[in-house]
Subunit: 216 residues, 2 copies
Amino acid sequence: MSEVAATGISVLLVDDHPIVRQGYRRVLESQGDLHVVAEADNAADAYGAFKTHDPDVVVMDISMPGASGLEAIRNIRARNPRARILVFTMHNEAVLVKAAFSAGASGFVTKSSAPSAVVNAIRSVARGERAMSDDIAHVLAEDSLSTGSALDQLGEREIEILRQFAGGATTEEIATHLNLSVKTVQNYHYLIKTKTGTRTDAQLVRLAAACGLTKI
Amino acid sequence: MSEVAATGISVLLVDDHPIVRQGYRRVLESQGDLHVVAEADNAADAYGAFKTHDPDVVVMDISMPGASGLEAIRNIRARNPRARILVFTMHNEAVLVKAAFSAGASGFVTKSSAPSAVVNAIRSVARGERAMSDDIAHVLAEDSLSTGSALDQLGEREIEILRQFAGGATTEEIATHLNLSVKTVQNYHYLIKTKTGTRTDAQLVRLAAACGLTKI
DNA sequence: GCGCGGCTCGGGCAAATTTCCCAAGCCGGA
DNA sequence: TCCGGCTTGGGAAATTTGCCCGAGCCGCGC
């Protein structure tokens, strides 16, 4: 997998939409140096295909049904820490980006990017570099100026409150469950949002779901 | 636009992701009889491109930022009632399908469909037939048998606002996107919650996700 | 031992949002 | 034509949020 220059770059495509995969395949293979050696439409198959084909780069949409794409990244990296994974998705939330990188992704490119940016990102991660699209860099820059870190920064209590909140409980219900004052739960709610850099309850729910804290 | 057999089928591609469009273009043009004559990444441009190129079929993802894709369908059909519009999206919620058809779409195909099903759907709508992918037919069938899902009671505007909200947008952002007052969006928010019987924003997000209105 | 920093718990208070009720315009169907 | 539903918003009370603060507890290093 290291002789990139001589053999071109082998790519594993992971996306849950068949025609999207086929479209990417054609775009990538028209480049000459990029070769799609396998496709997968879910996290489990992605892991299997990675074991079989050992591609230079995995291009993966992390918003797939079933298991979390982040989990797939973790699995692949656990098997081969040298694996290069380029996340390619329509989401551009800072928490997701950070979660992807900390899960072991080498790059993060949004589908809003120009096709040339995507293929360049693939080449970059194949060379072992980190890559991200301009909009993602912007999101992360904004985020680093305003907020702290993602879900790992949360304490036990905060995790528990976030779980119940994302599960649909009201502030009062959480307070009752945990024998806290409503005020305390409200403060935790606020603290969790600032810590995770989410501005909306909906984003918080999505984050919790993306991190496997709650299932939808 | 009627001499389809002699000249092939001209297609206008509407999707907000550049590389997705480029992928579709390659898939469609490899078919021989399909020719992509224009692309657009938003509703307004789609309408302009339709006026300019008068394509046989418009292949459109209705989940675009800004104006509703349903609105774009209506605009195009208002200009030319013989326009053939094939909705091509990842959403498979019955309310969305029904809304698209009542807005004037000729077909509805999900991105989960096999590429062959997509190109066949394009040929079908070009012949003036109605087309939908198997999963959409299944969803509609289920829907017609059920007592009504939670989202069935929602109007088009409510669906759009719910989608954006569940996607993480704030009330003000939604108001800006849709050119409404914040107050109106707030009222919709409240109305949606009462109609769906949810008491929490988190429950609303989960409902939207469960119905395929948004993905996590 | 002692301070430092972290988590946990909550008060306070202005600002913002939500909740609920209401009205008006528009449009399609009976 | 009238009724009902959708869409758009105003108004006012109720609630929550945003951000500040202090207190108790516990581990950790000096």
